[in-house]
């Protein structure tokens, strides 16, 4: 019943918005939104009956009536709290899903490079938006449908052939306003030309300690021989809900690295999907989550090896405390064409109490015959022999446990190439372990 009420709430909201956009309602862009809301009406929110949502119940999310909110005033100090010390970035601030020009700071870029808001570009370059919007992220569940139907703002990064954005682009997302249950639905596009390179940090933080729902969709297109690194930090308050779909399409010779670290959130669901759609692509997916209380973190990945001679390397790790829960579902799909595929997947978790739980489901579907694929999953406790060993050398119990937890996550950290980002995330992990 709750489910039906929720659905109606968002359908009604859509009608309200549609009634206020006047001329825009005739555009092809809005036509896509309308199709998305129809799709939403058809598929609805996922339930435990959906195989992909078997271990993650969203009923808690559906208890609240979330609605879009305006940008609110945020101080520079608040922004500074979330910056990565010492790291030079193009700062892009997004508040409740809306780009904030005043708080952003974007360096002058090479010709043709664009770091702009989705909203601006819908007006100034609708062709670019229409070429990519909804082309990568299929509407296969209610959340993607909802994001698409309500798509309004977000960030677009577009880099022409043979170019690079030197510094990281840090998309800093702040959510909340202290009064209502904010719904933030950024829609981000990253379009990278041939031989080009971009590094993006997307971080998520709460303005207020209230229930909010962030429902993001990232669509990524990598040109031939391009490089893209996407580093995601989820550090929202423990009352927030976070749903993230990242869909990347890789062309020949490209390399994509996705790094995800989840520290906050009540229910967090990440869907990270890549299609290796040209020869000699590399896809790296690295993830770490630390949970406490009743936090629930679900990482779903799909690596689609569509062409031969590609590599994928996937490693997810979790540290669970109290009564928290983790889910890992990693699907690797090797199509008939994708000979000489080299795919590696590993996922490990440490349970610090008897009350936490992890559901893990590695899935390999292989239709080619000359491939190298391996996967492994391990769930265990902290090694008490190791704890004693450290303590016997004078290291206090609490620190010993922290050192060992941090050591468990070490191979995830080692994939970071920026020392500043590495140190910052390291710091946040130690903080969370307090």
């Amino acid at each position: 019943m709750e489910n039906i009420k929720s659905k109606d709430w968002y359908l009604t909201n859509f009608k309200t918005i549609e009634g206020s956009i006047n001329g825009e309602s005739k555009t092809p862009f809005h036509e896509l939104r309308r199709k998305a809301i129809e799709k939403f009406e058809e598929v609805d929110f996922p339930t435990a009956k959906d195989e992909d949502w078997k271990y993650t119940s969203i009923s808690e999310i559906l208890k609240y009536k979330f609605e879009s909110a305006e940008t609110i005033k945020v101080s520079k100090e608040e922004i500074n709290k979330h910056l990565i010390p010492g790291l030079k970035v193009n700062l892009v601030v997004v508040i409740n899903g809306n780009f904030s020009k005043e708080l952003s700071h974007i360096h002058k870029q090479a010709d043709g490079v664009r770091i702009d808001s989705f909203k601006n570009l819908r007006k100034s370059d609708p062709d670019l938006i229409m070429e990519h919007f909804g082309k990568h992220a299929q509407i296969d569940n209610g959340f993607v449908a909802l994001n698409t139907a309500f798509a309004n703002d977000g960030i677009v990064i577009s880099v022409p052939d043979n170019a690079a954005i030197e510094d990281y682009v840090h998309i800093l997302n702040l959510t909340g306003n202290g009064t209502s249950n904010v719904l933030s639905q950024p829609r981000n596009l990253v379009i990278i030309g041939k031989n080009s390179a971009v590094k993006v940090i997307e971080s998520y933080h709460s303005i207020s300690d209230t229930e909010s729902l962030v429902n993001v969709v990232n669509e990524v297109s990598l040109g031939e021989n391009s490089h893209f690194g996407l580093y995601k930090l989820q550090k929202e308050c423990n009352r927030s809900f976070h749903i993230n779909r990242t869909q990347a399409h890789q062309s020949k010779g490209s390399e994509f690295t996705h790094f995800s670290i989840t520290l906050g959130g009540s229910i967090v669901r990440n869907d990270t999907n890549i299609v290796l759609d040209g020869e000699n692509c590399t896809g790296n997916l690295f993830g770490l989550y630390l949970t406490e209380g009743t936090q629930h973190v679900d990482n779903h990945t799909l690596i689609d090896h569509a062409k031969p001679h590609c590599r994928s390397n996937e490693m997810y790790k979790g540290v669970l405390n109290d009564k928290s829960r983790g889910v890992f579902n990693g699907k690797v799909f090797v199509r008939e064409d994708a000979q000489k595929t080299n795919a590696y997947q590993s996922n490990k978790a440490i349970l610090l109490t008897a009350d936490c739980k992890v559901d893990t489901k590695p899935q390999l579907e292989i239709y080619a015959d000359d491939v190298k694929c391996s996967h492994g999953a391990a769930i265990g406790q902290l090694d008490e022999e190791a704890v004693f060993y450290l303590r016997s050398r004078g290291i206090g119990e609490e620190l010993a446990r922290k050192v060992l937890i941090r050591a468990f996550a070490n191979d995830i950290f080692e994939t970071l190439t920026s020392a500043e980002l590495h140190d910052h995330l390291n710091h946040l992990v130690y903080d969370k372990l307090k």
Partner: protein, 254 residues
């Protein structure tokens, strides 16, 4: 320095130590010998504070301080060091950063200033030379992928780095070839001085050719059944443990 009085220890329902008495003074080296299952490792672990042992009675003190009342880390900071029989592998933690953390925790406890990276490195280099440990081993995760000999050498390296009052070596000779045995013994012998003490727990007399003890105690069924000077070890080697185990019931009736 170390005083063990009437120590009785049980693991689950099994009595392992049945009234140990031991006095180790500064400047002394004591060897605890005994057959397998006699309780040697239990004694070492109880001194270091490992979980899983029930102390039913008795006391263990270090310079008059009650060790049994302290956590393992407090004992270490007070100067107890256990060289493990099976050193633990710790992936993801480099040997160097582990030792820096440990050393500074101990220094903090003693009210000394923590060593910064530069001073620590200088101090570590000296000790590395002494034990013949190279950079590769130092930068690797603690004991990970080390050979048996490298692990034991790493224990003695830690002993040299941390400079405890009391070193308890648990079967440090097991799995060592003669060259490694010499290096490890050299590390222990250079550690020895008039202010510290060493307790060597071993099954074989071989190690005692290199680390010469002042006293030898024979542990059988959780009791010290015989004590003597270094010649006792040779006698044991010659006659085997049956010699003392046979004598044990007679002692029990005394």
């Amino acid at each position: 320095m170390l005083t063990v009085k009437d120590l009785f220890v049980r693991v689950e329902d099994k009595e392992i130590l049945n009234g140990i008495n031991l006095q180790v003074n500064a400047g002394e080296v004591h060897a605890i010998m005994g057959p397998n299952g006699s309780g040697k490792s239990t004694l070492a672990n109880v001194i270091a504070g490992k979980d899983g042992y029930e102390i039913t009675s008795g006391e263990v003190t270090l310079d008059g301080k009650d060790l049994l009342d302290m956590s393992p880390e407090e004992r270490a900071r007070e100067g107890v060091f256990l060289a493990f029989q099976y050193p633990v592998e710790i992936p993801g933690v480099s040997n160097a950063s582990f030792l820096k953390t440990a050393l500074n925790e101990i220094r903090k406890h003693k009210g000394l200033e923590e060593l910064d990276a530069m001073h620590f490195l200088k101090y570590m280099k000296e000790k590395m030379k002494l034990i013949g440990i190279d950079d590769k081993l130092i930068n690797r995760p603690v004991n990970q992928g080390f050979s048996g000999g490298e692990k034991k050498r790493n224990e003695i390296f830690q002993l040299q780095m941390l400079q405890p009052k009391l070193a308890v070596l648990d079967e440090t000779d097991s799995g060592l070839d003669i060259d490694a045995l010499k290096i490890v013994s050299h590390g222990v012998n250079t550690f020895r001085n008039k202010d510290n003490a060493v307790v060597v727990v071993t099954h074989y007399q071989r190690l005692l050719n290199y680390i010469v003890p002042d006293f030898v105690h024979v542990l059988v069924n959780g009791r010290i059944v015989k004590s003597g000077g270094k010649s006792l070890a040779l006698e044991l080697e010659d006659k085997g443990y049956d010699w003392v185990t046979a004598a044990e019931p007679a002692e029990e009736s005394v």
